[in-house]
Symmetry: C2
Subunit: 125 residues, 2 copies
């Protein structure tokens, strides 16, 4: 199987700097028409539209027809997945001590529950 289609996943959608910028703009300025984004970003309209398309497909933005304009607004909840995912590692860059402690606890817990599916590297654990 070749590469996984990137346009299916929120993580991929926000992997593109321009798309992240769009998200930022919509978050800060509220709903915006394509034209506004085009001006602000200084990119050719088709390019902007295409990025919007990706974000739309993933659900990070939603469109609203308003006359001949298409007003896009952010669907922030869709970003929650990313937030939650990264947040899970928050502790790991927090206080060194807490971190070590938590890790130990967690490891112990899991060790107890299910014998890790991985053969631990023989020699030195």
């Amino acid at each position: 199987m070749p590469r996984a289609p990137t346009t299916t996943d929120v993580f991929n959608a926000i992997a593109e700097p321009r798309r992240r910028q769009i998200v930022e703009l919509l978050a800060r300025q509220g709903a915006l028409a394509v034209g506004a984004l085009v001006i602000t970003m200084g990119l050719p309209q088709p390019v902007v539209s295409k990025h919007l398309g990706v974000l739309r497909k993933v659900g990070v933005v939603a469109v609203l027809k308003q006359g001949k304009q298409r007003v896009y607004n952010l669907e922030a909840e869709k970003l929650k997945i990313v937030h939650d995912w990264v947040k899970a590692f928050e502790e790991l860059w927090g206080h060194q001590l807490d971190r070590i402690k938590e890790r130990a606890e967690r490891r112990a817990r899991e060790q107890a529950e299910s014998p890790t599916p991985v053969k631990p590297p023989k020699g030195q654990a």
Copy 2:
């Protein structure tokens, strides 16, 4: 300009499901040798090594030579950027009411300050 090299950016690094899985595994199980990851993930070794390569290049993981093994461990701080970025939108998926209110205020404010670079849709604002 064609596509931007994906392997240069943390956002891109974690855009790949397998790579996210690696991060999860390292976070949960602590440092792991390539072999362990290979077994756990059920992927051919070269594939795993390549993903590790990407994560390494971006700094999300670090290697440690241990005999003939290469033990990888997570450099969680590198994920902080992502965390911070998404966290900025946290309020937007919080309380519905607050959100709407905030947005409205914000919009009003900006509308007043600078007449949006976009010609506002004449008819129904």
